[in-house]
Amino acid sequence: MTMWQIIILASIACLLLKLAGYLVPPSLLERPAPARIADLLTVALLAALIAVRTLGVGEAIVVDARVPAVIVAVALFALRVPFIVVVLVAALVAAGIRAFT
């Protein structure tokens, strides 16, 4: 697969999922399981991505400057600091640790 093929396939899949919502009958939402699974899928995937992006390097687990940066990010989100500020601070923490170690 080329990068373009991956990008086009993934983009069209996401677009079709959006369109599907306008095609299915609203009665689907009266059954709670589909909506609940979709919500929890979002949570599970995001949490898994945090773990992999914080600890993973290819197929290895590596603890480095990303870990303190993410801990700082969690604390700032808990304090309701805006998204873009937290992302910048996290980058600065990791960059700072790498510059001085």
Binding site: T2, M3, W4, Q5, I6, I7, L9, A10, S11, A13, C14, L17, K18, L19, G21, Y22, P26, R31, P32, P34, A35, I37, A38, D39, L40, L41, T42, V43, L45, L46, A47, A48, L49, I50, A51, V52, R53, T54, L55, G56, G58, E59, A60, I61, A65, A69, V70, A73, F77, F83, I84, V86, V87, L88, A90, A91, L92, V93, A94, R98
Partner: protein, 257 residues
């Protein structure tokens, strides 16, 4: 109905419309600001500037976009299928939102395709928060279009910035990517069930990282959500069909996705 009542109703309607537009612009600007981080991280993950922009134009859903480039950053092109699957699974919630926004949008297939394209956390949340049918319609379109325009412009800017930076690790961009996912997840952790799923999924993904090809640990972790969701483990006894909307509202207050 008497004359003054009609005028009062019209005034209330105008006020509601104005507030819907104001909400839309606030959410649009806040969301657009973080398109910069998507553009920069996409380039850091190995995409070129046009590929980054294509994703923001067509996929147009922050969570799916970050997931796609997150898996590609870890596993490269070889992790393509897993990257596509991760993005699509995260995109399923937009389908659920569409079921709710469909009656707001109304008839006309071209209009409905355009509406589906901009059906995301933000447009759904702002629309459903408005008090009248007209202000809900205004809130949906104004938010969707504001985020769409802003997000695509800032993606382009971010991609150029990322391209100019070169060695992104030295700037901590890998940590910024992890922090971005924390920001997307944070507003969704209001209930015990969600917190438990998040913790279990993180443990599963980390434990499988040394064993499986990059991208697959994330997909296997998604099974946790299906099991817990199917049997409603740790859930409230009152089934909550409005969960998606609450989540969308939460996403709107906290961070964009």
């Amino acid at each position: 109905m008497n004359a003054s009542g009609t005028i009062g109703g019209a005034d209330a309607e105008r006020l509601a419309a104005r507030e819907a537009v104001r909400d839309s612009m606030a959410v649009g600007i806040a969301t657009a600001a973080y398109g910069v981080s998507f553009g920069a991280l996409a380039v850091a993950a190995g995409l070129d500037i046009w590929q980054s922009c294509f994703i923001s134009l067509v996929m147009f859903s922050g969570g799916s976009q970050f997931a796609l480039i997150g898996v590609l950053a870890a596993g490269g092109v070889a992790a393509g299928p897993a990257a596509i699957a991760s993005a699509a699974l995260l995109g399923t919630r937009n389908g659920i939102y569409g079921i709710r926004t469909s009656p707001i949008v109304g008839r006309g297939w071209l209009k409905r395709i355009a509406a589906a394209w901009i059906t995301i956390d933000e447009s759904t949340a702002v629309a459903l928060a408005q008090p009248t049918p007209r202000s809900r319609r205004i809130g949906f379109w104004a938010t969707g279009l504001a985020v769409f325009i802003g997000w695509n412009l800032t993606t382009l800017i971010g991609a150029f910035v990322g391209d100019a930076l070169g060695d992104t690790r030295a700037y901590g961009l890998d940590a910024a990517a992890a922090a971005a996912f924390v920001g997307l997840l944070w507003p969704r952790l209001k209930r015990l069930q969600a917190v438990a799923v998040a913790a279990a999924a993180a443990v599963v993904a980390a434990a499988l990282t040394p064993v499986l090809m990059p991208g697959l640990p994330v997909l296997v972790a998604a099974v946790v959500a299906v099991i817990v969701g199917l049997f409603n483990l740790l859930g409230s006894p009152v089934t909550d069909a409005a969960t998606s909307v609450t989540q969308a509202g939460a996403a709107r207050e906290g961070s964009p996705s």
